[in-house]
Amino acid sequence: MADREFVFANSEVRKLLTEKFVPLAMDDWYLRQQKDDNGRFFIAMTAASPRGDAGDNTRQGRYVFTAAGKYLDFNNNRDPERILSMLRTSLRTYGKLSERDRKPEGEIGAVTPEPRFDRTPPKNGAIVNVFTRVLEKKPEGSLSTCSAPPQEVGNFRHRGFGAAIDHLWLREEDVKSLLPAREAKPGVPIPFPEALSVRLTRFHLCDNSRGEPPHWSRSEIKKAEIFLTPESAGRAKLTGSFHLETKDGKRGFTGEMDGWLEYKNGKLTEWKAVVTGEHWGQGQYTPGARPGKTPIGFAFVLCPKPGPADLVPPQGSRWLQGYYEAGQH
């Protein structure tokens, strides 16, 4: 999040990466554990880096390397000037390398991923982008983005006021279960499919505005009621009410959902909904929460034509079966 704001929003960084490098973004949790050609290449390449002795621990950071696997540089700082320096230095180094160090001798074939780390969006399913943002309540009661405090020079600390991104994956059977039957009566609410309701609640109503959040367990769902109310042919209103809370009460969320679904010929054509409410507490990897109960909003928007960033798996799918069967595990 902070990298997006401080490093990759910098126009010089963007220009250099776009023109002189092949920019690649990957999830370390998967890559460092994969026992396939991609995982082995990564571990071998990072051996010469400051993360070389990380063992099974994180190897996150920014690396420059060649197609042949020669490590060139590493940086894990948010100061764009230091990143620019790293990029320029590694370009000079690259320019002095032999052909053998730059390119592998043979073809680089497609890699068959180790099955337990393979995350492919569900065939004939749907991807719903989920955005999270901490909010402020204006004196008259409406919600707005947080006003950013003055940034200290040289301080690249995470403010957590930006929009966080995740994706809700729906399988083909999930989509089918969502679409109201033809005989459904307009104006009569229908309970949202239970499996989807639990998946959405446990994995997508989490405060990820400051990084990887703890997801909700089944026992932490005190209330999760979602209803679909057919309004007209091909359109249904979405409403919901939630209360999530840890056993010790230190972390929780209460909120309401409002939005709509549109569908045609058995397919979802639109999903737009917001869940707004109050969140409190923080997780082990998400310190810095505002004190007390504070406003937060989640936006759900169907992604009709996914680009590379939209294909990234849900954060909650590290155990894929547990994600899809959230009501059972």
Binding site: M1, D3, R4, E5, V7, F8, R14, T18, F21, V22, P23, L24, A25, M26, D27, D28, W29, L31, D37, N38, F41, G61, R62, Y63, V64, F65, T66, A67, A68, L72, L87, R102, K103, P104, I108, A110, V111, F131, T132, R133, L135, G141, S142, A163, I165, D166, H167, G211, G259, K272, A273, V274, G297, V301, P308, A309, L311, P313, P314, Q315
Partner: protein, 80 residues
């Protein structure tokens, strides 16, 4: 009984009106715009990120460029 019922109904309506006055309902579309990333927050997405290591290596070999890897716990293009 009828008078008591009517009084309760009036009280409920009054409470609802007061609540509506205190907490104006914001339209869902407006809230979607507030919560979703603004264009100014998406500059980092202008970079043509690859998401497959082998594909990035092939591209780097073909274009004779180094690979820049942004590696995070949590996908850098997703929840991180």
């Amino acid at each position: 009984m009828i008078r008591k019922g009517s009084l309760l109904l009036l009280l409920s309506m009054a409470c609802l009106s007061l609540r509506a006055a205190a907490e104006p309902v914001q339209k869902t579309a407006e809230l979607l715009d507030i919560i979703a990333p603004a264009k100014s927050e998406q500059a980092w997405l202008q970079i043509p990120w690859e998401t497959d290591l082998a594909a990035a290596r092939r591209k780097a070999a073909a274009q004779d460029k180094p690979v820049f890897l942004w590696e995070m716990d949590g996908h850098p293009l997703g929840c991180t």
